[in-house]
Symmetry: C2
Subunit: 181 residues, 2 copies
């Protein structure tokens, strides 16, 4: 299957640190390969990679990337662009038409995005036409694109694994577990 | 149908302002009746109510509420408690067992929550057992509980309405629209 990538536009390290971290970790949980952030932010890189090292998988982050060239290159390589916006077409109508035979880049803006983005995008997708959260919108879009199969994703490696539990916490160290009888 | 409410624990106005705003607006979009925040925060109240006034609906917010008494009262009135946690049982297994014949309170913590919450809750629910975002987790839980029907929710009143659009923005003022032929 093709890969899904996230492009985060307009990130301001001071103001958006936590929201962009949520965007990145949501992308990882729901099966994206990695996130590209237009603004340089090493603190953000470190906090995302810390989760990857502890919880496994091969999610990647790059910050300080010229978004315009990145979009152009992605398209030139045959990838498609989806832009998440409260002004777009309903996710349930659009997601079924987004075939994942080619790589997909999901653009997630913080605040206002350049007007040309609505034209560059192959799909402008809304998760409800109400103002809410790019984190929530991204989760729902990735859920629909994967038809809920993100749940089965395995994160290889890492030092911590959480197992489902009805009450309290069940956390194991996968390496230790292999030694158990 | 019964009502769904959100209880936000451990909100710190300075650090969590934006994330809790996202939690509240996500709750509103995905059909919850309102949010209760344990810490007093009038700035948060204002920014959520500003969206309600502009985009309609009857979503409410109360801040500075003793969470312990609120939980107790909610249970005493026959309501059920669901606690969103990365340590809980898989949302797709649990959500189908949460019948909405009674009101439901979804508890969403910021950082660590008191250990007793895992015992008070009728359901400890995880949206993946990976660390990501309470905003994403709440969206997915509300999506599953409503079986995707949040999309059809109408928000009455308000001064702005966004209509789906393939490119660009289509925003109307509902009051003006009624005057149109």
């Amino acid at each position: 299957m093709a890969e899904i990538w996230i492009l985060r536009l307009g990130h301001r390290p001071e103001r958006d640190k936590r929201i962009t971290t949520h965007v990145a970790l949501t992308a990882r949980t729901f099966g994206a390969k990695g996130i590209i952030v237009s603004t340089k932010d090493e603190v953000l890189e470190d906090s995302v990679m810390d989760v990857v090292h502890r919880f496994g998988g091969d999610f990647t982050i790059r910050t300080g990337v010229s978004w315009h060239s990145f979009l152009k290159e992605f398209k030139a390589k045959g990838g498609r662009i989806a832009h998440l916006t409260m002004y777009g077409m309903p996710v349930d109508d659009v997601a079924k038409n987004v075939s994942l035979d080619k790589d997909l880049l999901i653009v997630v803006g913080a605040e206002k995005v350049p007007a040309e983005l609505y034209q560059i995008a192959d799909f402008n997708i809304s998760v409800g036409n109400q103002p809410h959260s790019e984190v929530a919108a991204l989760a729902i879009l990735l859920d629909r694109l994967s038809q809920g199969s993100w749940v089965e994703k395995e994160f290889e490696g890492g030092t911590i694994k959480v197992l489902p539990c009805a009450r309290g916490k069940n956390v194991i160290n996968p390496a230790e577990r292999e030694d158990m009888p």
